[in-house]
Amino acid sequence: MFGWFKSREERSKEALRDRLELVLAYDRANVSPGKIDALRADLLEVVRKHFPAGESSIEVEQMGDKMVLSANIPLESGTRPGPRRG
C-alpha cells in the first residue's frame, strides 16, 4: 500500500521535473511553447513532402542554456524526392 503511494508520488515528481524543464526553457527563451510546436509541425510537413518515406523528426532540445530545434532527417540511399502533394 505504501509502496504504491510512494511510486505514484515519485512518478508525479518526475512529471513535474520534465514539465518544469520545458517551461523554464521557454520562459528564458521568451517564446510561447505553442508557437514552437506549430513551427515544428510546419517544418515536419515540408520535410515529409521531400522525404515521404523517411523517419524524420524535429525535436525541441536544450543545449546548455539555449533552446534549439533540431531536425533529424535521414538521407538514406535510394531515397528520391517524392511527388509533390498539393
Binding site: 508525479s12 512529471a15 514539465r19 520562459d27 511553447p33
Partner: protein, 268 residues
C-alpha cells in the same frame, strides 16, 4: 451564484487562488457549464501549468487586448474536459499592458460572442492594479482564505475593496483547513472565519497532499479522486445553486481516520 463573471482573489499571496480557479473551472465544465478561466497574473502566469496546458500556449490575454490575435486564438480548449477553456496571461509583458476597460470589453465579448456561461478570473496577489483589473468586470467574487491570521486579515481588506468596487456576490472559499487541528482547538474553524469576516462560505477545502500530486502532473484534482477534489466539486455545485450541505469538518475527532477507527473499536 447569479454572477457569470467571478473573480478569484485573496489579498495575501499563495493561499490557493490559482488552485481554486483551475479546480472550480474544471468542476463547472464537468457539470455542464461552458467555462473560461482567465489568468490575469501578467508576468507571473501559472494557471497554464497548474492546469497542464502550458505546452499549448500560443497567444495570450495581452495579445488579445492589443488586438494582435483574434479572441478565440487565445483560448486553449482543454481536451480532457468538454466546455473548458483557458486564456493564459502573458509571461513576458508587465502589468501596465493591462487596461481595466479593455479587459472588460474582452470579457463582454467572451459572454456575447463566444457564449460562455461562466468566466473565472484568477487574480494576482495584492491590492494593486492587477487585482483592480481582475475585479473590474466581475459581478461576483470568491475570496480564498486560509485559517491563519494574516490571510484572514488580508481577506477582510479585499472584501472591503470588492464592496467598494460594487462586486455584488462575495463568497468565501476556506482553503487548507486541517480538521484535526480545528478539532483540537489549534486552528480557526470554518464557523470562526465566517463570523469574523461576515461573508457567506461557498467552499471548504481540506489540506490535501492530492493537490500537490495533481499540480505536479498538471491535472486538476477534480478530474481524479481526492478529498480536496470532491470539496471543489461540491463548491462548484453550490455556485450553480444546488443545495449541497457542508461536511462538518470541525467535529471530526482529533487524529482523523485512526482516531475515528479507535473510537469505533471502543478505544479512547
Amino acid at each position: 451564484m447569479d454572477a457569470k463573471v467571478i473573480v478569484v482573489t485573496s489579498g495575501k499571496g499563495g493561499v490557493g487562488k490559482t488552485t481554486t480557479t483551475a479546480n472550480i473551472g474544471a468542476a463547472l465544465a464537468k457539470q455542464g457549464e461552458k467555462t473560461a478561466v482567465i489568468d490575469v497574473d501578467v508576468g507571473l502566469r501559472n494557471l497554464d501549468v497548474v492546469m497542464g496546458l502550458e505546452s499549448r500556449v500560443v497567444f495570450d490575454l495581452i495579445d488579445v487586448l492589443e488586438g494582435k490575435c483574434k479572441l478565440n486564438q487565445a483560448l486553449i480548449r482543454d481536451k480532457r474536459v468538454e466546455n473548458l477553456y483557458l486564456m493564459p496571461a502573458s509571461q513576458t509583458r508587465d502589468k501596465d499592458a493591462l487596461d481595466p476597460e479593455v479587459f472588460k470589453q474582452v470579457i463582454d465579448r467572451l459572454l456575447n460572442e463566444e457564449g460562455f456561461d461562466r468566466i473565472l478570473v484568477d487574480s494576482p496577489a495584492g491590492i494593486e492594479s492587477g487585482f483592480k483589473t481582475a475585479a473590474a468586470p466581475a459581478q461576483g467574487a470568491l475570496v480564498v482564505v486560509n485559517p491563519e491570521v494574516s490571510s484572514v486579515r488580508d481577506a477582510d481588506r479585499i472584501i472591503g475593496l470588492l464592496e467598494a468596487h460594487q462586486v455584488g456576490e462575495i463568497r468565501l472559499v476556506i482553503n487548507r483547513l486541517r480538521p484535526a487541528m480545528v478539532a483540537s482547538g489549534n486552528m480557526l474553524s470554518e464557523a470562526d472565519m465566517v463570523n469574523i469576516l461576515n461573508v457567506k462560505p461557498i467552499g471548504i477545502i481540506p489540506e490535501d497532499d492530492g493537490i500537490i500530486v495533481s499540480t505536479n502532473v498538471g491535472e486538476p484534482a477534480v478530474l481524479g479522486q481526492s478529498r480536496a477534489g470532491q470539496a471543489f466539486m461540491d463548491t462548484a455545485r453550490r455556485i450553480r445553486g444546488e443545495d449541497v450541505p457542508f461536511p462538518v469538518y470541525g467535529e471530526e475527532p482529533a487524529g482523523g481516520f485512526w482516531a475515528r477507527l479507535r473510537k469505533l473499536l471502543g478505544g479512547a
